[in-house]
Symmetry: C2
Subunit: 198 residues, 2 copies
DNA sequence: TAAGTGTACGAACGATCGTACAATTAGTTT
DNA sequence: AAACTAATTGTACGATCGTTCGTACACTTA
């Protein structure tokens, strides 16, 4: 298995582009992300950036996929290392709050910013975001459903805890403080306690 | 008290501009809102639109204020017609869900879209949005605090119910269905029941 | 070593952005 | 009717947008 030095270098450039693109998009949105600005910040040529994707929409889609990979690595995978049950669910939700609070993306959760931007406009970007959202919701629901002694509807429980997570992210980014995370942790803990009380 | 027909006409034009601007911004964001596009859609000149505001930022600020007025008229004022207590709180939260569900703004809640867009960038628009958000949260908290026999922390209760409202809006706009509103109504009703149980 | 391939670059394109300013139109005041 | 004022328009500007194209260079393969 040989590696072509040119291709290797190209892929590394592409990774750098996408990392910065996801950072920018979490703050300014996927439309605020311009190819020229990206090129300037990375000190490469505008056409060099463009050539990797072929269109702005493809850049946006690649950025979403790159951000999803970061999200999975940081939130999903660690939770799947824990055996199914209450501990896994707690790990998943705690992991999400840490991912948001530690500003893995400088503008808070990437998907919070970008979903609100594209939720009302048709197109492939929106379709991709809908699919990722569906998978995230399903993961929370199925993880909750595996908690022994669950007395609540997993779908309803998933809705409620996701609501707490997202509002914590939104409020903390907007206000610049950490209070909302404490509120969310309280709310999540209460919800889990109620949902597992026989 | 005389009225100048020219001024009167100008104010009417301004109102039309701002109404359309809020509609566009709820879908495309306040940055996606361009002066040229606004002029084309309203069939007036670009400079005519511009002259009313003097800068894009002023247009954005005026749009936010106009949307806030719509929000107050549709959600806040009707609730304040109800005497303080549980009924007023329920009216407030139901009013919000109706405001979102009936698509007063075509992209769902105007502030949901615009806060997510500006939450991570500094500037006067963001400052204005922070202030409106603070006032909304305070209204929900103080309305909850007036509910007789409340056993919950009003601040925590406000956080939780606002989380349900916002996720209902976000999910329904993203997915294009109404299921999230039903989930939110269930969640709000449960939260209120718990909060008033002695 | 010669030919071929892949990445990156610089220059240029048409379109649109926000903004400026003088001219025009409509309505008021004297 | 003339002078004045406010809303609106037309034209133009520099900047930036996404995109296209021809070229230069790095690397691999024959």
């Amino acid at each position: 298995m040989k590696v072509d030095g040119r291709v290797e270098r190209g892929e590394q450039t592409k990774r750098q582009i996408l990392r910065r693109a996801a950072e920018i998009a979490s703050v300014e949105g996927l439309e605020g992300l311009s190819i020229g600005r990206l090129a300037t910040e990375l000190e490469v040529s505008k056409s060099g950036v463009f050539a990797h994707f072929g269109s702005k929409e493809e850049l946006q889609l690649a950025t979403v996929r790159a951000a999803a990979k970061v999200f999975v690595d940081q939130v999903v995978t660690p939770a799947l290392d824990v055996p199914p049950g209450r501990a896994r669910l707690e790990r998943l939700l705690d992991g999400w709050l840490a991912y948001s609070e530690h500003r893995t993306f400088p503008g808070g959760c990437f998907f919070y910013a970008v979903q609100a931007e594209f939720d009302a406009r048709p197109g492939r970007v929106r379709d991709t975001l809908v699919e990722f959202d569906r998978r995230w919701h399903d993961l929370v629901r199925s993880t909750a459903a595996d908690v022994p002694g669950l007395v609540a509807d997993p779908d309803q429980l998933a809705f409620e805890v996701i609501a707490f997570l997202e509002l914590a992210n939104g409020k903390s980014v907007l206000r610049g403080d950490d209070e909302a995370y404490a509120r969310a942790r309280t709310a999540v803990a209460d919800a889990l306690a109620r949902a597992t009380r026989a």
